[in-house]
Symmetry: C2
Subunit: 124 residues, 2 copies
Amino acid sequence: MTHDQNADRESGSQLNPKYDSNGLMSAVVTDDSSGAVLMIAFVNAEALALTQETGFAHFYSRSRQSLWKKGETSGHVLHVSELLIDCDQDALWIKAKPAGPTCHTGVASCFYRKIESGKLERVE
Amino acid sequence: MTHDQNADRESGSQLNPKYDSNGLMSAVVTDDSSGAVLMIAFVNAEALALTQETGFAHFYSRSRQSLWKKGETSGHVLHVSELLIDCDQDALWIKAKPAGPTCHTGVASCFYRKIESGKLERVE
């Protein structure tokens, strides 16, 4: 990667995602209304393409080694409002309208506990 | 990992981070005031410990293979307001007060471009 290619990636208008050695990049989802972080996962090129094409958030599961559409079984899909990519194009921010609780535990956000003096405390 | 261990990880009050095979987990930083996503990076156990101990966000750079304190050279540190961990304890949400622009390009957030019809458009 030359300096010019990095500069293009940072300042250009061309989508040129920089996946890691496993073909993945981090993706964070926030609730378009509350602004809360709902979940963090990974996307590969196929998941990003499907997210753009369908308007529903898709991810890649490292543990199951497969593509998944969020909410495919639960119905708690994420309608994408806006997709943003970071400076070096190796991370994604998905603003979304959730159709239900995002966390499989039934709460709105997967981040329902804060770290306080080394212990976890529920915040929702 | 048994079912009980997973259940403890999800519902318990014990901090028990689940790092990936490289010893890392994703970390998203939001601005405590605006709620905007500022950056996404990775932490290892040492970075998480230092973040908790010092109150300043620390990360692990995969490209440089080293620990880094955000803002160590620029002065644009991130004062941690709250640390949250997700359901399966493999992702971190850092709410922070930034001392300056978080992005090395000089803008507040690394997410300064949205993806629109396959192209990038600046949003700040």
